[in-house]
C-alpha cells in the first residue's frame, strides 16, 4: 500500500555553531492512508518542527520526505505551493484566519489559489462550513466568532480542498473543554470517513482519540503505539457522536 507520508531520518538544526539547537535528531515516520496519528511530547520536544516540515512550511536540514508519493525535497518553490494547496490541510493552534474576511471567504481562499471557479468555490466552501456545523455563521468575520468557531472555520478551510493529509498543530490548545470536544468530534468523524489525520498534542485526553500515538522526546521518536487498526474506527468515536 502506498504511504501518504514517508519521512526518513529527518533532522532539523536551528542556528549554527555553539548556539545551534537540534530540534529533530533523525525522525522516521510512515503514515498509511486512513490513519489517525497523534504526536505527543513535552514542550520543546520538536513536535511543531516536525509538523512544519510535513506541512511543507519549512525544510529539513537533512533527510528525505515523500508526501503522497512525491519527493518534496526535489520540488521548486512553485510546485511546493501547489502541493500545499492540493495535498495538505493545515490547522494551527492560533487559528490563523485572515482578518476582515468573512468565514466563507476564508474557506474559499485555498480554492481561489487552486484556480476553482467562483460558483463552485462558494458551493464547496458552504459545504465545508456545513460539515463543521457553522452553516449559520458563514458571513461573520473572525473577530465576530468565538475561539471554537474560529477553529472550526480553520478546519473547514483545511478540508475544503479534500487534501490527502490533514495536519493539526495543537488544534485544541487555545480552546475550552466544550469547544475541544466539538473539534475532536469533527476529527473523529473525518477519520471515520476515511481521512488521513496527524494531530499534535501534549494532552493525553486528546491523544486517546487517535488510532495511533507517537511520542517524541528531544527530537527523537521514543514510542509508537497503535490504539486501533488503520482501517477501523477511531477509538472514541462513539463518545463524541453520542
Amino acid at each position: 500500500m502506498s504511504l501518504v507520508l514517508d519521512v526518513r531520518d529527518a533532522t532539523k538544526v536551528y542556528g549554527a555553531g555553539e548556539t545551534a539547537v537540534h530540534a529533530l535528531r533523525g525522525v522516521s515516520l510512515q503514515v498509511e492512508p486512513g490513519d489517525y496519528v497523534a504526536i505527543m511530547g513535552a514542550s520543546g520536544s520538536g513536535k511543531s518542527t516536525l509538523m512544519n516540515i510535513i506541512g511543507c512550511l519549512d525544510v529539513p536540514s537533512a533527510g528525505e520526505f515523500h508526501l503522497d508519493g512525491v519527493d518534496v525535497g526535489a520540488l521548486d518553490d512553485r510546485r511546493q505551493a501547489v502541493l500545499r494547496n492540493r495535498k495538505i490541510g493545515f490547522v494551527f493552534q492560533s487559528f490563523n484566519l485572515i482578518p476582515r474576511m468573512t468565514a466563507v471567504m476564508n474557506v474559499e481562499l485555498p480554492l481561489a489559489y487552486g484556480g476553482v471557479r467562483p460558483a463552485e468555490r462558494r458551493r464547496r466552501a458552504l459545504a465545508a462550513l456545513e460539515l463543521v456545523g457553522l452553516a449559520d455563521r458563514v458571513n461573520h468575520q473572525p473577530n465576530e466568532l468565538s475561539g471554537g468557531q474560529q477553529q472550526r472555520v480553520a478546519i473547514a478551510r483545511a478540508l475544503v480542498n479534500s487534501p490527502a493529509l490533514l495536519l493539526a498543530d495543537e488544534p485544541t490548545g487555545a480552546l475550552d473543554s466544550t469547544s475541544t470536544l466539538d473539534v475532536l468530534g469533527i476529527f473523529d468523524r473525518l477519520s471515520a470517513a476515511g481521512r488521513t489525520i496527524v494531530v499534535i498534542t501534549h494532552e493525553a485526553d486528546v491523544a486517546e482519540h487517535a488510532k495511533r500515538v507517537v511520542r517524541l522526546r528531544d527530537g527523537r521518536i521514543i514510542e509508537d503505539t497503535r490504539l486501533a487498526p488503520v482501517d477501523g474506527l477511531p477509538p472514541r468515536l462513539k463518545e463524541v457522536t453520542a
Binding site: L57, D77, R78, R84, N85, N96, P99, L109, P110
Partner: protein
C-alpha cells in the same frame, strides 16, 4: 488564480486601510496635478508671450537709440563728419526718411517714426482717464504694428502734413471715456489739447503682460510733438519689411543706412539698436521653455516624494501583513499571486492618485492662475500618468518581492 482575482484581493487589501490608502493616493495626486498644472501654466505664459510678440506686428524691425554706455569712448574718437561727436546722435525724422528711400533700402516696405508719451490725462465731458501710452506716428504704423481699426478710420498722410488734432483710441480708452457712446467724431482733450476721435482700435485682448495693449491713443506725429512731447528725438522707428523672407535683408539695409548717417564704423560703436521680431521671439521662447522646464522639475520632485510615500506605505503594509502572507502561503498561494497582489495594490494606489490628479489639474487649468490662462499639454498628462504608474510598479516591487520571497514558516512566525 486569475488576474481578476488578484485585482480583487488588491482592492480588498486597500479597502482594509482606507485612511492610509487615501493619504498615499493624495501624495501621488498632488504630484501628478502639480506636474500637469505647472507645465500648463508655463505653456500658457509662453503662448501668451508669443502672442504678444506677434501682436507687435510681423516682419517688423524696431529701431531705437541706445541709451547710455560708450559715451566716453565716443568722445575719444577722432574727428569725423566735420565736427567732434560728444554724444550719441538721436533718431530723427530725417533718419526715417532716409530709410524710406527705395533705392537705399529696397526691402523696406514702410517706415513709421514714433514718439510716445506715457500716462497722459485724457478727458471727455465729465469722464477722465490716464492713457497709458499716447503715440505720435505715421499712418503706416497701424499696419506695421498690427493694430487694425474696428470703428471709424485711421488718420491719413494729409492729417500728418497738416498736423491735425485727430486721434485713434484703444478699447480701454474708449470704454473709460465714452462708456457705451460711439466715440467716433467726438472731441476729447489730452493734457488740455483737444483731439477729434476718428477711429477705435480693435480690441487686442488680454495679453498677460504688464501693459494693457488697449490703453493707447495714436495721433499724427507732428500733432503729438506739438502738444505733448516737443520736437525732440524720436523714440523709435518702426520698419516693416516686404515679407518674412525680406526681414534679414531689410535689417542689413537699415543698418547700413543708419551707420552711414550716424558715422558708425571702425572703432565707432552703433548708437542705435535694431530689434528683430524673429530674434526676439526666439530669445523669449528659449527663456520661457527654461521656465517651463524649471516648473516641471519642481513638480517632478513632488511626484518623486509621492513615490517614496508609496514605497513607505507598501513596506509598512507588507510588514504589518506578514502573518497574513504566511497564512496565504501555508494554504498554497504561489509566489506570483502574493507578488501580484502587492504590486497591483501599489499600482492601484498610484493609478487612482494619478487619474484624480489629472482630473484636478484639468479642472484647475480652466481657471486663470496668476494672470495666466494655463494650457494643458497632452504629453504632460501622458507623462505624469505614466510616471505615476511606473512609480507604483517600481517602488511597489521592492516590498512586494520581499513579501513574496518569504518562506511560509518565517512569515507565520513573524510577530
Amino acid at each position: 488564480m486569475s488576474a481578476v482575482e488578484i485585482v480583487r484581493f488588491a482592492f480588498r487589501g486597500l479597502a482594509a486601510n482606507k485612511m492610509r490608502s487615501a493619504l498615499t493616493t493624495l501624495g501621488i495626486l498632488i504630484g501628478v496635478a502639480a506636474v500637469i498644472l505647472l507645465v500648463a501654466v508655463g505653456e500658457g505664459s509662453s503662448q501668451s508671450i508669443q502672442r504678444n510678440i506677434q501682436q507687435l506686428g510681423a516682419n517688423t524691425l524696431t529701431v531705437s537709440s541706445s541709451t547710455g554706455g560708450g559715451g566716453g569712448f565716443r568722445m575719444a574718437r577722432p574727428q569725423q563728419d566735420g565736427g567732434p561727436r560728444t554724444q550719441a546722435r538721436p533718431l530723427t525724422v530725417d533718419d526715417a526718411r532716409a530709410l524710406a528711400d527705395r533705392t537705399a533700402a529696397p526691402h523696406v516696405s514702410s517706415v513709421s517714426p514714433v514718439v510716445s508719451a506715457t500716462s497722459q490725462a485724457a478727458s471727455y465731458e465729465g469722464a477722465s482717464h490716464a492713457v497709458q501710452q499716447v503715440v505720435g506716428t505715421y499712418p503706416s504704423y497701424f499696419e506695421a504694428s498690427n493694430k487694425p481699426v474696428a470703428k471709424g478710420t485711421y488718420f491719413f498722410n494729409d492729417d500728418v502734413l497738416a498736423a491735425r488734432k485727430v486721434v485713434v483710441i484703444g478699447q480701454t480708452v474708449a470704454e473709460n471715456l465714452f462708456g457705451a457712446l460711439d466715440p467716433v467724431g467726438r472731441q476729447i482733450t489730452i493734457t488740455g489739447v483737444p483731439f477729434t476721435v476718428v477711429g477705435v482700435l480693435k480690441e487686442a485682448g488680454a495679453t498677460g503682460g504688464f501693459q494693457d495693449a488697449d490703453d493707447v491713443a495714436i495721433a499724427p506725429l507732428p500733432s503729438v510733438q506739438q502738444s505733448l512731447t516737443g520736437f525732440g528725438p524720436l523714440d523709435q522707428i518702426l520698419v516693416k519689411a516686404g515679407s518674412a523672407d525680406d526681414v534679414a535683408a531689410a535689417q542689413a539695409e537699415v543698418t547700413s543706412v543708419l551707420d552711414q548717417r550716424h558715422g558708425v564704423g571702425g572703432a565707432v560703436a552703433a548708437d542705435y539698436q535694431i530689434l528683430n521680431q524673429a530674434t526676439l521671439q526666439e530669445t523669449v521662447s528659449a527663456a520661457t521653455s527654461t521656465f517651463t522646464v524649471l516648473l516641471a522639475a519642481v513638480a517632478a520632485i513632488s511626484l518623486l516624494v509621492g513615490g517614496i510615500g508609496i514605497t513607505n506605505i507598501m513596506l509598512v503594509t507588507v510588514t504589518e501583513r506578514t502573518r497574513e502572507i504566511g497564512i496565504r502561503k501555508a494554504i498554497g498561494a504561489p509566489r506570483g499571486a502574493i507578488l501580484g497582489q502587492f504590486l497591483v495594490e501599489a499600482t492601484l494606489l498610484s493609478l487612482i492618485g494619478g487619474l484624480l490628479g489629472v482630473a484636478i489639474a484639468v479642472t484647475g487649468a480652466q481657471f486663470t492662475i496668476a494672470g495666466i490662462t494655463p494650457v494643458v499639454v497632452p504629453s504632460s498628462v501622458v507623462l505624469a500618468l505614466g510616471v505615476s504608474v511606473a512609480i507604483g510598479l517600481f517602488f511597489g516591487s521592492y516590498p512586494a518581492n520581499r513579501a513574496a520571497k518569504l518562506r511560509p514558516i518565517e512569515a507565520l512566525r513573524f510577530e
